[in-house]
Point group: C2
DNA sequence: CGGGATCCCCCGAGATACTG
DNA sequence: CAGTATCTCGGGGGATCCCG
């Protein structure tokens, strides 16, 4: 068997063969936010060797998870995009994200937040949210990352970059993650400047009730 | 940062740091079926180097996913068991299993089915099943692997080993996977000896309506 | 025999430089 | 911009050995 195979006729083993390679999950996380160029991917994955990114993209194309396509038009740039089969991974990656996020407290030394990781986090945080009474738009920024969210009815749309004319612009700092876990209430978070809100500060309550990232019950027992 | 880290404050990245190591997902899959001894794990993971199994178990204990405990009583053997935090991985591993299984057709040359992989597959296959009218018990064997399932109401219980006095003993061969995908109907499967049923052959219909493993829509388009 | 530890080899990851 | 080329080094694969 090829070196990366496990020799078991098992769904999890097959998934592990494809996804268990270093950097692969993060590449897919980034591509799930939309098609990206090689240099966009490299920028969103600081520390990845360029040859490894190149290798992974070829493997993922080989495995049918992504496609490499020349973008028509003026710029002849090349973009990578998820296939349908690749997009089917979303529930699994979301479940992994949720598990990982439940075990996160403070960032470790030097850890960053990227655009794609922020979008991914917000999308997962919005799952299971109650139906919104009114349409609300947010711009969320954490570190250098910026994302936007449009909350309307039972759907939440999240994407990279600011939302022009958002109802509220929320800038998260230390303590932002505690607030999303419910360990720090919005009013206190504003008072302690763990969060800065431009626009109606009251909208932070709506934000928190829509986007929640609980701590793992097994870890609060510490 | 440690070598296996990604330097991103992101749930998926954190999950990948723990789960992205070779063999780790399969070790957890096996432990999710219940506590296991070192030698049980080694037997269920043919090909794993013993030093690597040892290393992984230490890492997983360090990360709080499993505990190593001396089993009291006559045999002083040591067992490894999931912690609560580790057990929270089940939804994520199930989602990965489902995705992987959706992409599986025939086994590759030399691929085997283990007890734990069969249990895992049946558990995932039972998700979303309709409420059963009557209590049914099955013993399922594929290759050398044997599992049992108890279907009752809206719950399905799956475990390793045969169920004594099961209502039906189902032995799957080539074509079994097609049947679970709905590509081969039960009567034909029996006729072609893709499946052998001891007991009431009609129970195979109940089995198939409870345990389904669809093919990926994106792959049937091939 | 269960439950590992030790050894060596080699591949793949990381870093850096370079090119169409 | 979108990669390829080359080198080094740590970790995985495989076999063997050890200890209660």
């Amino acid at each position: 068997m090829r070196n990366r195979e496990y020799g078991q006729f098992c769904g999890l083993a097959r998934a592990a063969e494809v996804l268990g390679q270093r950097w692969t999950l993060l590449i897919l996380r980034d591509l799930l936010t939309g098609p990206r160029r090689y240099s966009d991917l490299a920028a969103g994955l600081p520390g990845i060797p360029s040859n490894l990114l190149s290798t992974r993209l070829k493997e993922l194309e080989q495995d049918g998870l992504i496609v490499r396509e020349a973008r028509g038009g003026a710029d002849r740039s090349i973009v990578y995009a998820m296939t349908d089969r690749g997009a089917e991974l979303q529930p699994a990656l979301d479940a992994l994200s949720r598990w990982g996020a439940a075990g996160m407290r403070e960032p470790r030394e030097g850890e960053i937040v990227t655009d794609a990781s922020l979008v991914s986090a917000l999308r997962v945080a919005a799952e299971g949210a109650a139906i919104a009474e009114q349409r609300l738009t947010f711009t969320v920024s954490v570190g250098d990352a910026v994302a936007h969210a449009i909350v309307e009815g039972d759907g939440v749309e999240v994407g990279i970059g600011a939302h022009p004319g958002a109802d509220a612009v929320i800038t998260g700092g230390p303590g932002f993650r505690d607030m999303l876990a419910g360990a720090l209430d919005p009013a206190t978070a504003i008072a302690e400047e763990a969060v800065v809100v431009e626009g109606d500060p009251g909208l932070l309550d709506d934000f928190v009730s829509t986007f929640t990232v609980p701590y793992s019950p097994a870890m609060t027992a510490d």
